[in-house]
């Protein structure tokens, strides 16, 4: 049941103490840390499946090129995993450092998701070490099998974390008595209404982001004339994974939109800048939401399209922003621009994927146009932008609530001083981290592929 939405009362925090003036700073810090971590999650989801697939090709054909490629990718995956370990640790620290009141009030309700994620993460850490350090030291078959838990735990780990995010959007699995959270039911919380579309949306995003970013590296090499077996294999595998996921993502996105229309109508209204509740609501492309006038200006209005998309019925009623008081609405322009960015880029990526597949299936080769490779190079960074834009849509769209309609973000935040200092420190550290990772990946890429087979 969409039970939680029926609750009228706001919760009473479990931690005594004052709310904080620096909620914006805390949100910025959390957003920054998530922006750093989420692309690495994409690699955790998709990259193991990709290198394991290539290792499978090696086992079947005995072709050393496949082995070199799988080995190279697994080394990159290990570096990214190490970075993910530390950036993920920062996130779990930040839950307590920035949102102690949220954790104290609801930690028992949703915490189990992270406990299960912890187990997945552990399995991943163990087997990625065995896999990468076990090349040429385990039997080929055993080595291949040690890769399987990496793929599985990459999925289960992100599954649990995203289930918690789904819970923040559609809270369930507890009762409210006089504003107090009681009778927690962890599994009801985990399997909440938003969980399924969020996890599948993110899982596909992992393949799209990882696939296109890695493909972009080889597309660059391709344009510079490196077109041997090694580079062609790498390109085809990456593009195949990303291109399979990208068109499906359009369908999943539609499903997510309809779920949001039902469970979080105000978020949907913010995505579209829809002020008044109406039947046959239009869809507006582009433009800026004007809060004083309560409308989107300079956009292209397509009549009835929003009702059609949100409810699959051109005359359906769509709830507008006016249904709640201004203090309970998210910042419309941020959410709306992020949403349109995601949809725009996602559509482009789906088209690019379709182009690759039609050429590959009809002609059995890669497209010849240089513009295709330039587009693939652009697709990597763009898919990252779409990923972050998507998360901005769902996270900023949930504001001003940390737990939808139950706990305000301002109730959740820490009362400790000095957030600004911490923020500045964190920005500096992340800039250094980003520079270091780019430096390292370039160094790895410069090593000749043959060195992998010898080692």
């Amino acid at each position: 049941m969409p039970g939680a939405l029926l609750f009228a009362a706001q919760v009473v925090e479990a931690l005594p103490g004052n709310a904080q003036r620096d909620t914006e700073l805390a949100r910025q810090m959390q957003a920054l840390s998530l922006t750093v971590h989420i692309p690495i999650v994409c690699f955790g989801i998709a990259f193991p499946a990709m290198f394991l697939f290539v290792e499978g090709l090696h086992l079947r054909t005995g072709d050393q090129t496949y082995k070199a490629l799988a080995k190279r990718w697994s080394k990159v995956a290990l570096v990214l995993f190490a970075v993910g370990v530390v950036t993920g640790t920062i996130l779990s620290f930040e839950f307590g450092l920035l949102w102690p009141s949220f954790m104290a009030t609801f930690g028992d309700v949703f915490g189990i998701g992270f406990a299960l994620e912890g187990i997945s993460f552990f399995v991943e850490a163990i087997f990625i070490a065995i896999y990468v350090y076990g090349w040429d030291r385990l039997s080929p078959r055993a080595h291949f099998l040690t890769g399987v838990p990496i793929v599985v735990s990459g999925f289960t780990g992100s599954f649990n974390v995203i289930a918690v995010n789904g819970w923040m959007n559609t809270p369930d699995g507890f009762d409210l008595v006089g504003g107090r959270v009681v009778n927690p039911r962890p599994f009801d919380a985990l399997f909440n209404q938003n969980m399924w579309h969020e996890i599948i949306h993110m899982y596909l995003a992992g393949y799209i982001v990882c696939g296109f970013i890695v493909a972009g590296v080889y597309a660059f090499a391709w344009l510079r004339g490196r077109r041997d077996h090694y580079h062609r294999t790498a390109l085809v595998v990456c593009l195949a994974f990303a291109s399979l996921a990208a068109p499906v993502q359009v369908v999943v996105g539609d499903w997510a939109g309809r779920d949001v229309a039902k469970s979080q109508p105000v978020k949907l209204a913010a995505l579209e800048g829809l002020q008044r509740t109406e039947r046959g609501a239009p869809f507006t492309i582009g433009g800026i939401y004007d809060r004083d006038k309560g409308e989107v200006r300079y956009g292209i209005h397509v009549p009835k399209l929003l009702s059609l998309l949100a409810r699959h019925d051109p005359n359906a009623r769509v709830i507008g922003l006016e249904s709640v008081k201004p203090a309970d609405r998210p910042p419309v322009n941020v959410v709306r621009i992020a949403f349109q960015t995601m949809v725009g880029i996602g559509t482009g990526l789906a088209l690019l994927g379709a182009l690759f597949f039609s050429t590959w299936l009809r002609k059995g080769r890669l497209p010849r146009s240089r513009w295709f490779y330039r587009a693939v190079m652009a697709a990597g960074p763009l898919s990252f932008v779409a990923l972050i834009a998507g998360w901005i849509t769902t996270e900023v769209g949930r504001q001003p609530w940390i737990v939808y309609k139950l706990m305000r973000t301002t109730q959740a935040v820490t009362s400790a001083d000095g957030l600004a200092v911490g923020y500045a420190g964190l920005v500096a550290v992340y800039i250094g981290l980003g520079a270091a990772v780019v430096w390292l990946l370039r160094r790895l890429a410069r090593r000749p592929a043959e060195s992998e087979v010898a080692g």
Partner: protein, 344 residues
């Protein structure tokens, strides 16, 4: 009963991190103090070879502790993290530096790069255990109040008990690392490194023991309740067990029996963690919040326990496989002094 079982999970996690995580920090300590590029190259090479396959798995124990505490003892978690935000934030920054610098040093192309990254890795390996130890000291000495940043922002971790626990955490890591590295060096067939780490293990072990004994005086004046708990009943028994295990480890290292020394050194840490828990019984946050008050409802605790039991069924064989491969040397990289790599 359920709160005690969940507390036991926390104790297991803290102990595992206090042994395995600490040893990785200690390896960083020896990396830091190994001397110039040429003289320290052999030690650094050994540190790199030993840590590479296992440090991520070792680090996960910290996450494990956090997750259990916030699920099973949420109010305590919120209180601890908001009051002790400064040392915990510093530890978090240190964790970024350490993990990244270590991962990157493995791919450094010149001695200069390796030196810069190594310094960052090694310095943060000292910063992290100190900060985490200081936070533990703040909790154990009853300085965390229930509430959103209700305790002292500085006094909660800059106090005699915190500094003591922080220093012990650093020394304990150095000691454990030296014991483990001596064993690894022997497996790698590097007798001079075995001797070097053996000497370090004996020195650091003796020092850690002396500081721990002297520390009792600090606790006597600064954290009387904790002192009383550690010097009576179950707390006292655990302190004695830890001391005996520590002395036994020194003896085993002296006799160059590094395998059993691994076990006794781990036992020494485990006994201290259990002793700490017994000393502050029945409190989770001493003087402020009992274990019962801190615990989430039973429905949640039983879900936590069941999940962990199922998780153990998956994790135990996986970990056993990793450590078996590691101890058999099947994942070993070829040993190479760190500075050698940069010579033509």
């Amino acid at each position: 009963m359920l709160p005690q079982l969940c507390l036991a999970l926390v104790i297991v996690g803290v102990t595992a991190y206090g042994v395995l995580g600490s040893a990785d920090f200690g390896a960083g300590f020896w990396d830091l103090t190994a001397g110039g590029a040429e003289r320290g190259g052999r030690i650094r090479g050994m540190v790199e070879r030993s840590m590479s396959p296992v440090w991520e798995a070792n680090h996960v124990w910290l996450i494990f502790v956090l997750v259990i505490v916030w699920t099973a003892f949420p109010v305590a978690f919120g209180s601890i993290f908001s009051t002790l935000s400064i040392p915990l934030f510093l530890a978090a920054l240190g964790i970024i530096f350490r993990g990244t610098a270590f991962a990157l040093r493995g791919h450094a192309a010149t001695m200069k790069e390796a030196r810069g990254l190594g310094a960052l890795f090694a310095l943060s390996s000292v910063l992290i255990p100190f900060c985490l130890g200081a936070a533990v000291g703040g909790i154990a000495s009853g300085r965390v109040e229930v509430g959103n940043a209700a305790g002292e922002p500085f006094g909660s971790w800059l106090n005699p008990t915190s500094v003591l626990v922080g220093v012990i955490a650093v020394l304990n890591g150095a000691y454990l690392a030296a014991v483990f590295l001596a064993g690894d060096s022997r497996r790698a067939g590097q007798p001079d490194l075995v001797r070097a780490f053996r000497a370090r293990a004996l020195g650091a072990g003796a020092l850690a023991g002396l500081v721990a004994l002297g520390g009792l005086l600090v606790l006597h004046s600064d954290a009387r309740a904790l002192y009383d708990g550690l010097t009576s009943g179950g707390g006292l028994i655990m302190v004695i067990v830890s001391a005996l295990a520590g002395v036994a480890t020194l003896g085993l290292v002296w006799a160059e029996r590094y395998g059993p020394a691994r076990l006794t050194s781990a036992l020494a840490v485990a006994a201290v963690v259990v002793g700490w828990a017994l000393a502050q019984d029945p409190y989770f946050l001493p003087g402020r919040l009992t274990l019962r008050q801190a615990a989430a409802p039973d429905a949640v605790l039983s879900v936590v326990l069941i999940s962990m039991a199922v998780g153990t069924l998956i994790l135990a064989p996986s970990l056993a496989y990793l450590y078996r491969l590691t101890l058999q040397g099947r994942l070993d990289q070829d040993y190479e002094p760190l500075d050698q790599r940069f010579r033509p």
